[in-house]
């Protein structure tokens, strides 16, 4: 699914962001990636989405390898990833329903499939009654649910979340974590990047990879990239 093999990432100006990172995220797994800010968490996410390429080693995501993927193949890879950010990234002038439909429209989904899929996904994140609200009419937690729904609507194999609870108060953050857990229970892999250690305690069975200064200092699965 996602395989990092001895991955280094060095930026010309800021230096080494990741050093010798190896892990294998399997189908259906729930993985936290944690660590202090500047540990390389966001770089790791960018390597998964192939927004960045490693300086050394290889990243493999769903059959695409970082050293062989062509620019025009990247959209196909992205459709297999559901991505959620801290700042939600919703279009302000579109309703919840339209924001979710947008992800289908721009990837060329057949128009007749869009509405049923959008409504189904909205229901999955518990927002059926807010379909026609603009983001400004929704709370932070609700906006993040819309963003999650948008990430799910293309049926990705993994949900990739970069600090999804960073802008939310603790109680709402736990609600959002619950949404991720539900999604994971239905068989979808989740990679949740967070610096918030309290979340880790809320999901004891999840795998934890902890980064510090670009290196993995803890992996609760402990098998590196061997499998």
């Amino acid at each position: 699914m996602i395989l990092f093999q001895n991955v280094d990432k060095e930026y010309p100006r800021t230096g080494l962001a990741l050093a010798d990172v190896s892990f294998h995220l399997r189908k259906g797994e729930f993985m936290f990636v944690t660590g202090p800010s500047g540990a390389g968490k966001t770089t790791l996410v960018k390597l998964v989405t192939m927004e960045e390429r490693p300086s050394g080693g290889t990243v493999r995501v769903s059959g695409y390898a970082s050293d062989r993927i062509r620019i025009r193949e990247i959209p196909r890879l992205r459709r297999r990833l559901g991505i959620v950010f801290q700042d939600f990234r919703l279009l302000k002038n579109r309703t919840a329903r339209e924001n979710i439909a947008f992800a289908l429209e721009v990837t060329g989904a057949p128009p007749e499939q869009i509405t049923p899929k959008v409504l189904r996904t909205l229901a999955a994140v518990g927002l059926s009654d807010k379909a026609d609200h603009l983001p400004s009419e929704l709370s932070g937690g609700e906006q993040q649910r819309v963003a999650i729904a948008r990430a799910l609507v293309n049926d990705p194999f993994i949900l990739l979340a970069d600090e999804p609870t960073g802008n939310l108060d603790p109680k709402v953050a736990l609600d959002i974590l619950r949404v991720f857990k539900d999604i994971n229970l239905r068989g979808m892999a989740v990679m949740l990047v967070t610096h918030d250690r309290t979340l880790l305690g809320e999901h004891p069975r999840a795998r934890i990879i902890e980064l510090d200064q670009g290196r993995i200092v803890r992996d609760t699965a402990g098998d590196g990239a061997t499998s």
Partner: protein
């Protein structure tokens, strides 16, 4: 497709001022270009009609054997640059002089012998009516021993040449400058559109929209702006034309085919400028 067409025209509603401004810039650039083109083509037309009169006249020695004259005419007629060739006998020359110089007709009345020489008039094909080719031809004809004198209006052939080259040069320079202005203007408006839609484009990249998908509505938008600008320029041009026609000078307007080509040129310019700008923006994925 629904997304593409909706987005392409959404821009017009979303930022009407910016859109109007960019269309106006394109219209002005194309208008100036077309006014210059109109003047250029009319100068060119005048030059062409003058050019048609470019010819080489070879005056023959009196008493030249008609067989030798025919040989000259056959040979010269076979030159690739020669369009037509005509023999003017001494009698023809006198008759022509009597008509053309009617005021001096008394001079010709009491002539005992015809003083005018027979001549051969050579017209050149288009594309050969320039100073170099005319001179080259004159030199070759002058080699026939029974050719007494050659005339081809060296001076004005050269002047005509200069004028035509100048108008071509100005046309290309001024036309090029304004095409570049239009190009930059369209690129700049697309740039602003891209910046104002940064969030949307970032989301599109994130969810897996292809580059072509993101680019398509903007290319259509650039094309549409170019076409609208060109139509506006045409309206202005028509007004200018009728004003000039009434007050100053009679001109020939563009043909319908040229007008269609001009409008398509506007659209193409808009689309290419958009593609050019997009290429820079969408290089990073």
């Amino acid at each position: 497709m629904a997304y593409t067409s909706r987005e392409a025209f959404f821009a017009f509603r979303r930022s009407p001022l910016l859109t109007a401004l960019s269309i106006a810039t394109i219209a002005f650039a194309l208008y100036t270009l077309s006014v210059f083109g109109l003047v250029w083509s009319n100068i060119d037309r005048v030059l062409e009609s003058v050019e048609e009169r470019v010819e080489v006249i070879a005056y023959l020695v009196d008493g030249t054997d008609p067989a030798e004259t025919s040989a000259l005419m056959r040979e010269v007629a076979a030159y690739p640059e020669v369009d037509s060739i005509a023999y003017i006998s001494k009698d023809d020359a006198l008759a022509r002089a009597r008509v053309e110089l009617a005021d001096y007709s008394a001079l010709y009345e009491d002539l005992e012998a015809n003083p005018l020489p027979a001549s051969v008039e050579v017209a050149l094909k288009r594309g050969f009516r320039n100073a170099d080719d005319v001179q080259e031809l004159a030199t070759r004809i002058a080699r026939f021993p029974f050719v007494e004198e050659i005339k081809y209006g060296e001076d004005w052939v050269q002047k005509l040449d200069f004028l035509q080259n100048l108008s071509l040069f100005l046309g290309l320079v001024v036309g090029g400058v304004f095409a570049a202005i239009a190009f930059v203007a369209i690129g700049a408006t697309i740039n602003i559109v891209l910046i104002s839609r940064e969030d949307e484009i970032a989301i599109m990249k994130m969810v897996g929209a292809t580059r072509a998908f993101i680019a398509r509505p903007l290319v259509i938008e650039g094309f549409a702006k170019g076409v609208i600008g060109a139509v506006l320029a045409l309206v202005l041009l028509t007004a200018t034309y009728s004003l000039l026609e009434q007050r100053v000078v009679s001109l020939e307007f563009y043909s319908p085919l040229q007008i269609v080509a001009g409008i398509l040129l506007g659209g193409t310019l808009g689309a290419v400028a958009s593609i050019f700008t997009l290429h820079r923006h969408l290089a990073v994925w």
